[in-house]
Amino acid sequence: MRRKEVNERSPVRLLEASIHGGLGAGNIAAVVARHGVGKTAFLVGVALDDLMRGRKVLHVSLEEPSERVRSFYDEIFSDLAHERELEDVWRVRLELERNRRIHSYLDGTFSIAKLRDAIYMNRDHGDFHPVAIMLDGFPFADTTVAEIDELRAIAEELDAELWMTAVTHRDDETDENGLPAPVAGLADRIDVILQMAHDTKAVHISLLKDHDNPDVPDLKLALDPTTMLLRRER
């Protein structure tokens, strides 16, 4: 299959359709799930879709060293290439690597100011203009509205989408809109909220918030727990 077809048939199209044309530049999405459900795999899936179209992505991890993030991409990409029988795998992989940057901030070394510096350094000295920033492991539980606004400002300035992950815990409560604890108080600051939960067969991804749309559509999207690939749900 050619990469264009892989993109056209990508389950990410389904997500885009459900959230009315995609997240949109300058907007923030949060993916909420318990530990170990596959939030990183989801981010990588969305990022690969952009990368496969020749767009640039910045992946920021607060949990894994950059080398591990890279091998995550490598594994999910090779599963994807294998499953879709992608043509020109070698060439596509080279291009993906050129268009992807990974920054890891471990042991609490992360700060929004640092992220901003790194982004501008990449842009101004490395001519790197990402269309999406994947921010994995941001400490939602301790964050403030002001910080989220700061992140939004960065996304707006860069004209990039910002995808973030948020961890929920077993006894976290949900608010009246069905939003789980870490994002409950921030609903008006986040444009799209997704939730991942698994049963014995697959990891189901549901939509909790879609921009300002009052009727949140049903999302028929899942993550295959063995290949970690996104797929449409039957």
Binding site: S66, E67, R68, R70, R100, D107
Partner: protein, 695 residues
């Protein structure tokens, strides 16, 4: 031979260069009575540790070649494959990982997880090797095993569980607390050979209790019985062992042991752990490829009664002659058997079968599936598969990267030229990433490999083992040339003056080809070029590709399609068509917009956080592209793709710009086009050189 495979362990000891791996191996051999005396690496007695069989390794205090040795412990048979630590020799590491069933990862209690540990970790994951960790050098000043455990968790993301507590650290390190049996172990006697059990020191009881609970918690994930027992609070040691073992086999848990090999502390309990937690050969699944059935994968059966399948993973030419180390995957290998080398399609008689212990050996009659032994005086190369009944089977091939660096060498003394040739012939067989050839124009001998250090080691070995000193030229990067667009050709080779004539016409097109070096497509219709000449056409293109027109380096990634041509009833010949193809290549090459490719290395630099700027600058100055950075407390790691040609002298620069506080690793990543201005420079240089040679 042994009847019970559950009592066999094939293990590797894998680690960073200075973590004391060789000393640990030496101690293991001592405690298992394989050697009578302890020597230290770089020993004062000039003898050196037993595992480093090459003199050079002794001098440098590092292990280059992976010698295999065996020992016995508690009724078990342990084959130890010593693996090299430096990244320039990763082919050796990978080759040994292929034949291991489990590994002991040695870490330094002071330095902890370093960049090389990360590389080795990635290889272990790739080959799914279950492992234990041993935190060595607990006697050194600054030793902190607890921090190393945290690094195992954070940097390598291993579920590391401390199985022992050190009793005293640095100069006070005297023993360990066994957290499963809840006892203290002291190592007494001149060489720590007597293990004395005692009660846990009073002040450590609480910590021991707490750490023991951590083990139970981690291990109960892998053993339901243990989980239930833990809830009822009547856990037995057996249940803990079973849980830890399952966790190790599932690659879900890494038990960590502590000690100091040099000070003879903690080695015997580590041996117990190897037997207790690492898998026997039947617990690891290995697949082979059926060469008669399109390389179909099938599972080998670890059964002495099945037909033989064995892999040659290491050649070694020592004072006994040529030895071939083999891992037997299936069947039985007997002295006097005739076996089949599936790559060479050749029968081989097994004259002598030996079991190796570093530099000494022991003759044996037979060996069975699961074992590692050596064959004597057999002609083969590393990676060859041996089978019974002339069966065409290969153990899945080990990926061999193309060499990326060349150096011209010349004997300092004419008398030793023969020795150089002998040495090169042997190195090529031992190491698939080492190549040698004679340059046609300069008549120089060129050696190629994976990095500067890689070639240095062979140059030194020539001197030491073959008494052949060589002069070396400047290291050269192995460039490639490749076309970047499709172009058509139509070329007629005609020579009809005097004698028999030559005539051949070929037409078609060339285009970039991704999947390999060369692809030849024959679309000739109606026999305008008679079939008998087609191979000559292909050969003509292949020869022309050996030297690109830009800078004389090999052309890669080329597809040639021929779709028209003409032949002459009398004047056409193989030679004429080869010449026509070469002419066509010359004609079409410049039209297809050729470019120069250079090897790009994946470089990882790491060190204290204050050097982040210095790292980024050092990489950018070398035309590097940053692919990732990792910051953690006080520490930063920058990964980048950097052209190999820019990496010469990097270690010196890095040392001076960071006061020796940073280190780096480098691996071949890919080939990529060089920037235009550098390409022009290279072309200019090539032209001047060829002009000065007068052609």
């Amino acid at each position: 031979m042994f009847s019970d495979l559950s009592k066999v362990r094939n293990i590797g000891i894998s680690a960073h260069i200075d973590s004391g791996k060789t000393t640990l191996t030496e101690r293991i051999l001592f405690y298992t009575d394989r050697i009578r005396k302890i020597h230290d690496v770089k020993g004062k007695d000039g003898i050196g540790a037993t595992m480093d069989s090459m003199e050079l390794e002794r001098e440098r205090g590092i292990t280059i070649a992976s010698a295999a040795t065996y020992c016995q412990w508690d009724g078990h048979h342990i084959n130890i494959i010593d693996t090299p630590g430096h990244v320039d020799f990763t082919i050796e590491v990978e080759r040994s990982l292929r034949v291991l069933d489990g590994a002991v990862m040695v870490l330094c209690a002071v330095a902890g997880v370093q960049s090389q540990s990360l590389t080795v970790d990635r290889q272990m994951r790739r080959y799914k090797v279950p492992r234990l960790a041993f935190i060595n050098k607990a006697d050194r000043s600054g030793a902190n095993p607890y921090r190393v455990v945290e690094e195992l968790k954070e940097k390598l993301k291993l579920n590391a569980v401390l199985m022992q507590l050190p009793i005293g650290l640095e100069a006070d390190h005297i023993g360990v607390v066994d957290l499963v049996e809840m006892r203290a172990l002291y190592f007494e006697g001149d060489n720590g050979e007597t293990v004395r059990e005692d009660a846990i020191p009073e002040h450590m009881l609480d910590a021991a209790e707490e750490k023991r609970n951590e083990i139970i918690e981690a291990a109960s994930m892998f053993n339901d019985e243990l989980l239930e027992a833990a809830l009822e609070d009547n856990v037995t040691s057996e249940q803990i062992h079973a849980g830890v073992r399952r966790g190790v086999l599932d690659l879900g848990l890494t038990p960590v042991f502590v000690g100091s090999a040099y000070k003879n502390k903690g080695v015997q309990p580590l041996l117990d752990a190897v037997i207790r937690y690492l898998p026997d050969p039947t617990e690891i699944e290995n697949v082979a490829l059926d060469l008669d059935d399109n390389e179909r994968e099938f599972k080998v059966e670890v059964d002495p009664k099945q037909p033989l399948i064995a892999l040659a993973f290491k050649l070694d030419e020592g004072r006994f002659g040529q030895l071939t180390y083999v891992r037997i995957y299936q069947g039985t290998l007997k002295k006097g058997d005739t076996i089949f080398n599936s790559r060479m399609s050749r029968d081989i008689r097994v004259g002598r079968l030996v079991r190796m212990h570093a530099d000494e050996m022991e003759d044996i009659e037979s060996a069975a599936a699961g074992d590692i032994v050596a064959l004597f005086g057999i002609d083969c190369a590393t990676g060859d598969t041996f089978t019974a009944n002339r069966r065409a089977v290969a153990m899945s091939s080990i990926h061999v990267p193309e060499p990326v660096i060349h150096i011209a060498i010349k004997s300092k003394d004419r008398k030793t030229e023969g020795n150089v040739a002998k040495a090169l012939a042997r190195f090529v067989k031992e190491d698939p990433t080492f190549r040698t050839r004679v340059d046609e124009e300069s008549a120089e001998t060129i050696i190629s490999g994976m990095g500067e250090l890689h070639l240095d080691v062979y140059i030194e070995r020539m001197k030491r083992e073959y008494n052949a000193e060589v002069e070396t030229g400047q290291p050269q990067v192995a460039y490639r040339e490749a076309i970047s667009r499709r172009a058509e050709f139509d070329y007629t080779h005609k020579k009809q003056t005097g004698g028999s004539g030559q005539y051949g016409r070929v037409a078609g097109y060339v285009e970039p080809f991704d999947a390999g070096d060369f692809d030849f497509v024959n679309e000739i219709r109606g026999g305008v070029i008679p079939t008998e000449y087609i191979p000559a056409v292909e050969k003509g293109f292949r020869t022309a590709m050996d030297k690109g027109k830009l800078i004389g380096f090999p052309v890669t990634g080329l597809r040639v399609c021929i779709n028209d041509g003409a032949a002459h009833a009398v004047d056409s010949s193989d030679m004429a068509f080869q010449a026509a193809a070469r002419g066509a290549f010359n004609e079409v090459y410049n039209k297809s917009r050729p470019q120069i490719l250079e090897p790009i290395m994946r470089v990882a630099v790491e060190g204290p956080g204050e050097f982040q700027g210095a790292f980024v600058r050092s990489v950018m100055q070398r035309r590097g592209v940053i692919v990732g950075t990792t910051e953690s407390e006080g520490f930063v790691r920058v990964e980048a793709d950097v052209p190999l040609s820019m990496m010469f002298g990097y270690s010196t620069d890095l040392r001076s710009s960071t006061q020796g506080k940073a280190e780096y690793t480098m691996e071949f990543a890919k080939y990529a086009p060089v920037p235009a201005e550098i390409s022009e420079e290279l072309i200019k240089k090539f032209r001047t050189e060829t002009d000065s040679r007068g052609n």
